[in-house]
C-alpha cells in the first residue's frame, strides 16, 4: 500500500536516478571525447611512419602481404602523381592492386615495369612473370629479413629532420629532394592554376589557436585534384566543417596527416601560435 511517506521516497530516488544518468553520461562523454580529441601518437620508429601493408590477395595467393614505404617513394615523386595520375586510393587495401593489373602497367606497374628509369636505372618490374626474376620479396617482405634494398636510416641520413622523422617540406624547399610530378605516358601536361593566398581557419573551441592554412605548400605535393573535391568537397567557408574528430578518423586533413604527412599531434605545425608545450610527442 502506497503511503505518503512511500511516495515521497519513490520520487526522490527516481530524481536521483536521472541525476546519476546525466552525470554518468557526462563522464562517459568526457572519457570518449578525450580518446577521440587527441590524435594517436605516430609509431615509435619513424621508419614505420607511412608504411602501408596491402593484403587484398597476397596471402591467399602465396607471396604474403606487400609492404609499401612512403618515405622512399615520396622522396622521388609527388603525392599527386600516385594518388591522382596513377590512381591509388588513400587507404590501405582500398585500391585492390592485383598482379595482373600491375603487369598491364597500372598501379605499381606504372613505374615498376622493368623499363622506366629512376636515377638512370630501370625500376624492377612488379609481379613479373619472368622465371629468373625473383624480385617478389622486395615488396612482399612481411616476416622476411634482408630482402628490401633500401634502409630508412641510410636513405634519409642526409635529409633534414623535424620533430618527428624527416621534414619533407624543408627537404623540398632546399632542393635536397626534387619530387617528380610528371610521368611520361601517364601524366598529361596541364596548365597550372594559381594557388590561393594563405588563410586562417578558426578552431572549433575558443581557446585553441587558429590554423593558418597554405594552399601553396600543399599544392607543391598534391596539385588541386588530390584534395578537391573528394577530400575537401566544399568551397564555402560557411559550409566547411572540418573537425579534429574527422581528422582523427582519417578524413579531411587526417587523410594525409594521420599516417603519412607530418603527424597530427604536432599541433604547432598547423595551430601556429599555439604554446610550445603543444608540440606533441
Amino acid at each position: 500500500m502506497l503511503t505518503c511517506w512511500n511516495q515521497k521516497r519513490t520520487r526522490r530516488s527516481s530524481g536521483w536516478l536521472v541525476m546519476l544518468a546525466l552525470f554518468g553520461g557526462i563522464v562517459f562523454t568526457g572519457i570518449a571525447s578525450a580518446q577521440l580529441y587527441l590524435p594517436p601518437p605516430p609509431p615509435a620508429n619513424a621508419a614505420d611512419y607511412g608504411k602501408v601493408v596491402m593484403d587484398n590477395f597476397s596471402t591467399t595467393l602465396g607471396p604474403g602481404p606487400a609492404v609499401f614505404d612512403h618515405w622512399l617513394h615520396r622522396s622521388k615523386y609527388t603525392c599527386r602523381l600516385c594518388h591522382v595520375d596513377i590512381g591509388f586510393a588513400m587507404q590501405a587495401k582500398a585500391t585492390g592492386v592485383r598482379a595482373s593489373t600491375n603487369r598491364e602497367g597500372y598501379h605499381c606497374g606504372a613505374c615498376h615495369d622493368g623499363k622506366r628509369l629512376s636515377d638512370g636505372k630501370p625500376i624492377f618490374a612488379a609481379c613479373s612473370d619472368a622465371v629468373n626474376d625473383k624480385q617478389c620479396d622486395r615488396c612482399h617482405s612481411v616476416g622476411k629479413k634482408d630482402v628490401r634494398k633500401y634502409s630508412y636510416s641510410s636513405y634519409t641520413a642526409k635529409l633534414p629532420k623535424g620533430l618527428y622523422g624527416v621534414d619533407w617540406e624543408a627537404a623540398e624547399k632546399n632542393g635536397t629532394i626534387k619530387p617528380v610530378d610528371f610521368l611520361p605516358g601517364i601524366s598529361l601536361k596541364k596548365s597550372t592554376m594559381k594557388s590561393r593566398e594563405d588563410f586562417s581557419i578558426k578552431a572549433g573551441l575558443p581557446w585553441v589557436h587558429p590554423v593558418t592554412f597554405s594552399h601553396e605548400k600543399h599544392a607543391i605535393w598534391n596539385g588541386c585534384e588530390l584534395c578537391h573535391p573528394e577530400i575537401f568537397a566544399t568551397t564555402s567557408k560557411a559550409e566547411a566543417k572540418y573537425t579534429m574528430f574527422s581528422n582523427i578518423e582519417g578524413h579531411h586533413c587526417g587523410a594525409c596527416h594521420l599516417r603519412v604527412a607530418f603527424p597530427l599531434n604536432n599541433c604547432v605545425k598547423c595551430h601556429q601560435r599555439a604554446p610550445s608545450w603543444a608540440k606533441g610527442n
Binding site: S14, G25, S195, E225, L226, E239, F245, E249
Partner: protein, 275 residues
C-alpha cells in the same frame, strides 16, 4: 518510476551519442582504372533469375552512339538500376534490345550483327551469350579490347584516359545520333553561345560552359529540366559539394564523362599561372 528511468536512459544516450561524429566524405577513394571508368552494374532482376549482375561498359557504347540516343530516345535512366530493365523488354526490342536484337549490324564493314540480348527460350549455347552481359565476377571474352580501341584516340588524364570531346571533333569516332524507328526525326539545334560562370572562389578561374559541346552528345532534354532545373539565369547555385554528390554537372561528370578531378577542363578561363 519506469517512465523516469526511460527518460534518464534517453538523456544518457543523447549525451553519449553527441560525442560520436559521423564523418561524411573526406577520403580519397581508388580511382577507377581507364577501362573500368563508366562501368555500370545492373542488378534489378538478374540475381533472381540466377544470372550474374549485368556489367555495362560506357566506353564501348559511347564511341558508337551519342548519350541522347540511349538516355532520351531509348529511355535509359541515368542511375544504375533506375531503368528497371527486364528480359522481356529486351526481347521485345526495347532498351538493350533496341540494338541487341541479333539483326542490327554492329558496323557495315564486318557485316556482323549485334548479339541479341535475352531470349524467350534459352538453349545451352545461349549460356555464353547471356554471360556477355551478365558477367560480374566472371572472366568473359569481349569483342572489344580497350587498349586497342584507346590507342589511336587523343589522351586525357582521367576517366577513360580518352579525350572523347576531341575524338569526336577530329572525326576519330562518329557517334550515331539517330536510330531509325526509335529516334524522333529532329532538326539540327540552333547555336547557343558559350558563357562564363563565376565560381566566386578567390583564385579559381571562371568556368566556361559550352552548350555546343554538350548538345553534340546530349541534345536538350537529357539535361533540361531533370538535371538542370533553373529557368532564370543567375538564380541557380551549383556547389562542388552538390556536384560531387551527382547533382547538376555531377550527373555525368562523376562517373561517365570526364571526372571532377580534371579541374581545368571546366575552370578554363585563362588566368596567370603561378607554379
Amino acid at each position: 518510476m519506469s517512465r523516469k528511468l526511460f527518460v534518464a536512459s534517453i538523456l544518457f544516450l543523447i549525451f553519449c551519442g553527441q560525442s560520436i561524429l559521423l564523418a561524411q566524405s573526406g577520403t580519397k577513394k581508388r580511382r577507377p582504372l581507364p577501362y573500368e571508368y563508366g562501368r555500370v552494374v545492373i542488378n534489378n532482376y538478374s540475381a533472381k533469375a540466377d544470372l550474374s549482375p549485368v556489367v555495362f561498359e560506357h566506353w564501348i557504347h559511347r564511341s558508337k552512339f551519342t548519350c541522347r540516343v540511349c538516355h532520351v530516345d531509348i529511355g535509359f535512366a541515368m542511375k544504375a538500376n533506375g531503368t528497371d530493365i527486364k528480359a522481356i523488354d529486351n526481347t521485345q526490342g526495347y532498351y538493350c534490345g533496341t540494338c541487341h536484337n541479333g539483326k542490327t549490324l554492329a558496323d557495315e564493314k564486318s557485316g556482323k550483327a549485334i548479339f541479341a540480348a535475352c531470349s524467350k527460350r534459352v538453349t545451352a549455347e545461349d549460356g555464353r551469350r547471356c554471360e556477355r552481359c551478365h558477367s560480374q565476377g566472371k572472366k568473359v571474352a569481349s569483342d572489344y579490347d580497350f587498349f586497342h580501341f584507346a590507342k589511336p584516340l587523343p589522351k586525357e588524364n582521367y576517366g577513360n584516359g580518352i579525350d572523347w570531346e576531341k575524338s569526336e571533333e577530329l572525326g576519330l569516332i562518329k557517334p550515331v545520333a539517330h536510330i531509325d524507328g526509335v529516334s524522333s526525326p529532329r532538326n539540327p539545334l540552333a547555336l547557343q553561345k558559350d558563357f562564363a560562370l563565376n565560381p566566386k572562389v578567390e583564385g579559381m578561374p571562371d568556368i566556361i560552359f559550352s552548350h555546343k559541346k554538350h548538345t553534340v552528345w546530349n541534345g536538350c532534354e537529357l539535361c533540361h529540366p531533370e538535371i538542370f532545373t533553373g529557368v532564370k539565369k543567375g538564380t541557380s547555385h551549383y556547389t562542388m559539394v552538390d556536384i560531387s554528390q551527382g547533382k547538376s554537372c555531377g550527373a555525368c561528370h562523376t562517373n561517365v564523362a570526364f571526372p571532377l578531378t580534371d579541374c581545368q577542363r571546366c575552370h578554363s578561363k585563362p588566368v596567370a599561372a603561378m607554379r
